[in-house]
Symmetry: C2
Subunit: 670 residues, 2 copies
């Protein structure tokens, strides 16, 4: 291989006569290597294993006996086997406390979120029973509290009810909800099985901040229905129809304050509901505020929803004869989850809708679940395997869809309470499921008088935490384009629709990457005197130009999308350099050095571009030198035979060596 | 600024006691600078000027008098003013020869391509008259020969005739063609005006190779209609309907050879046409082959089409009474381009179709024109301004749409002939237009007996050169993913449709970029003994590990799309390193150095990831050091305050300095 020959010997003759811009002259020149040869198949294998198995999931299985491998395999499929064997009473004590705490939160939230998805409240409780049990066997997070969550409920409710009315056709609606749950589970499990977990990475944090804030605004406004006791309400989710629904019904009224207006128009707004709703809302918000200020008092906000439910139910029970304006939950069926596999809907006109809803809610709940799992894992310094989590959540949703549950995942708020209450293992989820079981079997009649307004207050309190304006401000401060993605998803969700808003935000994020690739930075380098370091002239004041050389660093892969730009930009740098030399009567430009360290990839257009520039510079009698091409670029240049036109003498390992060697070669031989 | 403090003084004390893996110890430590401060507005301005004005188009205007600026401005708008002033007779002699040569090619091709677009043949001649004149005034290429081209004609013909039948409704079809031309011109001119020229870069060379080959296959098969004299033929463009059209009509026949079959089924195939077509086709292909072997004989292939037209016309004229089976062009209207501004169609049901066709043909013809212009410019070492070319082509098409022309651009084949015939300036286009003018005014009756089959033969000869299997093989050799994009666009065009095939190919190209970003390389670095150079251990056999250090280079920007992956991958490197240390009883790992030279950008997710890794390594008492972050990354880390948690001592300018300094700090103080 020509390029591998070491040039230090050729240069030892004229090494002594060279004077270079750096003081310490080391004339040993290192040649640029090609990477070790690999066949196309080997490369493909390496690339695929890097794409699908970046975490090398089988490393534990290496050098193990057959029997040990079986045990490890089972532990891998069912993490409970791994931690279950050394589970002891002390851990159980912590888990039972945290499990009961999240149960007190999960029961009212389950009922509320089911209402958010336009489902019967009991489905929310069903969904807090089966999925946590399955997750505790399959999941790898210790702190995730599983159950229905606001975002997924909201999205499912909106997407389905825009096509099927939950009031007019409740059975079909329920069927579609279970089918969507099934598809979301199928999608999640396939992503995990095919190890395509990186798909959820494309919902960047910036996108999610905007999306969640947008969704929270919409949900809060929609809860005005419950909070103000409005009977007729839009099923749409965009800002404008919701606001219209709230205010349209009393547009004839013209007074100023809410309560006052209400007296004028009692038919649509009910003052009893408003008073009750706002009192409990302020109670819940105060509890949340206290817990946020003092994380040790987490139990205040954890206990608040159940307390509110109990208090309000008691209150309504006491004044039941007088409270006509306040709508209540009413009769709830006692008993365990009925099977619902026969309700799955695999053909007919709404199948596409169910699949679409399943995909969107699936990816959203997956993103939330995995992110929450990772957050708490990193706090306790253990790792959560994304692909395994996806399979766990997928199976839990698929099983859920057959047992009257709708989409569930790890909820951020409940997981935080779980973590703060000292949960140690997934047993807290089993405790939670047991508590829900007891509720389902024996306590359902107690919810008869629970007013709907309290559920609205619980939902508002839960979603208000999703508006993370501090994160948005931080995005603005650090990265304006991330902030743009954030606002796009916020307004997209608010004014267009959930799937479109998300798609726009992902589009903006991808566009950001493409923009960076399309218009990459090129930096003019100079030498830091007394060293072999070459750095940006613009950034390091001590760096100085090397006469007769133009040293450029390209800060991006060279692709079809930027090869034309880079060619123009390089020629402009050369033109500007020549003009400034002419103006200052400096020594004429002889050599252009391209530092390729940051050119991490190149495609065929990039190679053509380099050839083109080489030819152009040859015509102007300028030397073109490439420094430190990375392995894949070197390989491609080798395959395309352009290294022949460059020759060995145009490739160097460092800028310093290139400058030393080339300026030495200009000196007349002794 | 903390990070700017020079640490060389702090370290001068223990510098003497340090022993480092490199032999030449230079304990001068350089600190990492922040880039010069800029306001958000300045940054935005800089970024925008980099996006829209990378070539600094106004640099000629600097430091000029007001009057000179006006002249330069006019020259900029009308390049003819620039070269026209020193035009002389010798140049004109070259231009007149090349102009007449391309005219002899352009006239038969114009008629043929118009038929390809299902337009009356005369429109092809009109389109070879006005656009070249306009381009010669506005265009900046000296060698571009302007006129109708095969790809754009084909695409326009297909897209329009799938919705409107050119036979049943010729006026509407013509209106739509002119309207599409208008919109393609409008689109081209706007791209140039808004300096969005980079849009065409997204049609990478790989995509175009596949697209052109696919289009050429389809066009050649479609020409079987003319070549075999088939009367009923599909208007679709996909492979299957075309093949069905060719063979379906005689499926009852069962003999073997073409001619033989033809006797069995004379109603649909005409043997006279076939014999004539294939003789002239072989003549044309031979001429093309000769010119390709010996570029000096370019005139053979340049003259062949006109010769064929003349010969075949004479032949038909002589045997006119007997040649019933051969269809001829027939009567062509004499006279100049009639105005067609009143035929533009700005409302009604087909407007969307016209706009869509305009966009697709506009971007395709732009890509071809700009690429051809650049190719010949680089051969003669002058530059073509992409944005200016777009405006020239846009205006030329907009003007064309008002003077009965359809989409035109610079044709590769005619430009090559123009170049080889010695064209010096755009005057060759004026000569071409003049020759077409004479033809339009006086020679039209001569085409009466020209057989259509000869036009089919000319088209096949022209498009067969578009199948560039050598380029495809080169793509396969250098870049497998580029080859994938190429095959996708080939089969997409062949089996689906032109716009979808193109969209798929662009999607594959973009996916390639995203794949590179999603799964970037991380490389383990080692020291080349006796130097400060750190290079890939895998690639440079002489490089060796530095004990107690893990030195990683990340070869990609850190974005939301790869931050999770990079975090996992880094932790895996650390785990593997620790395991190998345990196996070999080496000195324990103390410090992880990340070489950030190739991390050319970072978003908020990337910053969170770095924080996260820092925290994790802190818990394991491992030091994390970042080396040489680029300006934008440094700035973002500064804005997000994570530099505080790193501290000055965790940022170095080179890996060598980091290793020296940190290993020195581990030694006990004297």
């Amino acid at each position: 291989m020509d390029v591998n020959s070491n040039r230090s010997e050729d240069l030892s003759n004229n090494g002594g006569t060279a004077t270079t811009p750096t003081e310490k002259v080391s004339m040993e020149i290192h040649s640029v290597c090609l990477p070790p040869k690999k066949s196309t198949f080997q490369k493909l294998k390496h690339r695929l294993s890097d794409i699908f198995f970046p975490d090398d999931p089988l490393y534990r299985f290496k050098d193990q006996t057959w029997c040990k491998k079986l045990v490890l395999g089972l532990q891998c499929l069912f993490p409970i086997l791994q931690w279950g064997s050394h589970y002891h009473l002390k851990l159980f004590r912590s888990d039972i406390i945290s499990g009961l705490t999240i149960a007190s939160l999960a029961i009212p939230q389950g009922i509320s979120y089911a209402k958010l998805a336009n489902l019967p409240p009991i489905v929310g409780l069903y969904s807090s029973f089966v999925p946590p049990l399955i997750y505790s066997v399959l999941g790898s997070s210790k702190h995730l509290a599983v159950g229905p969550v606001s975002i997924a409920s909201l999205v499912m409710g909106t997407m389905l009810s825009e096509n099927v009315s939950p009031a007019a056709d409740p059975i079909l609606y329920l069927e579609l909800a279970f089918t969507a749950t099934f598809f979301s589970g199928l999608f999640q499990a396939s992503l995990g099985l095919l190890r395509l977990g990186f798909v959820i990475d494309f919902l960047s944090k910036a996108t999610l901040v905007g999306f969640m804030a947008g969704a929270a605004v919409i949900v809060s406004l929609q809860q005005l229905k419950g909070l103000l006791g409005i009977v007729h309400f839009t099923t749409k989710m965009q800002l404008i129809p919701v606001l219209t629904s709230v205010f349209h019904q009393r547009k004839e009224a013209s007074a100023i304050t809410l309560i006052f207006l209400n007296y004028l128009c009692p038919k649509f707004w009910s003052w009893e509901t408003i008073v009750m709703g706002f009192s409990f809302l302020s109670l819940l918000l105060t509890a949340r505020h206290i817990s946020m200020k003092k994380p040790k008092l987490f139990w205040i906000s954890a206990a608040a929803p159940l307390t509110s439910v109990i208090l309000s139910t008691l209150f309504i029970f006491c004044i039941k004869s007088k409270a006509h304006g306040i709508s209540i939950i009413g009769h709830l069926k006692q008993g365990l989850n009925p099977p619902s596999a026969n309700m799955l809907y695999f053909n007919g006109q709404y199948l596409a809708l169910a699949i679409k809803t399943g995909l969107v809610t699936g990816i959203l709940s997956l993103t939330e679940g995995v992110a929450v799992g990772r957050t708490f894992a990193s706090l306790k310094n253990y790792q959560v395997d994304g692909n395994k989590e996806m399979m766990a959540m997928g199976l839990m949703n698929m099983a859920g869809s057959c047992t009257s549950c709708y989409v569930t995942t790890g909820s951020f708020s409940r997981s935080a309470v779980n973590f703060n209450a000292g949960a140690q293992t997934a047993v807290s989820n089993i405790v939670l499921a047991t508590a829900v079981l007891v509720t389902l079997l024996f306590l359902m009649p107690l919810f008869y008088y629970t007013p709907n307004v309290i559920l609205a207050a619980i939902i508002i309190t839960a979603v208000i935490g999703l508006i993370d304006y501090e994160a948005a401000y931080k995005l603005w401060k650090t990265d304006k384009l991330d902030f743009l993605a954030c606002t796009c998803s916020f307004f997209g969700v608010l004014f267009i629709s959930v799937p479109l808003g998300l798609a726009i935000a992902v589009g903006v994020s991808v566009f950001k990457i493409l923009l960076h690739v399309t218009r990459p930075n090129t930096v003019l380098l100079g030498n830091i005197p007394g060293t072999h370091i070459y750095q940006s002239l613009n950034r390091y004041k001590e760096a100085s130009r090397v006469p007769s050389f133009l040293i450029l660093a390209i800060e991006s892969p060279i692709y079809f999308a930027n090869s034309t730009y880079l060619q123009e930009r390089m020629l402009r740098w050369i033109r500007e350099e020549e003009e400034s030399i002419k103006a200052n009567h400096g020594s004429s430009l002889k050599c252009v050095i391209i530092d390729m360290t940051a050119v991490t990839a190149m495609d065929t257009s990039g190679i053509d571009m380099v050839c083109e520039v080489k030819k152009m510079l040859d015509k102007r009698s300028l030397e073109l030198v490439l420094v430190n091409p990375v392995a894949s670029v070197m390989e491609k240049m080798h395959h395309s035979n352009i290294l022949d036109s460059f020759g060995t003498s145009s490739l160097y390992l460092t800028v310093g060596e290139a400058v030393d060697d080339i300026s030495a070669s200009w000196k007349p031989h002794p």
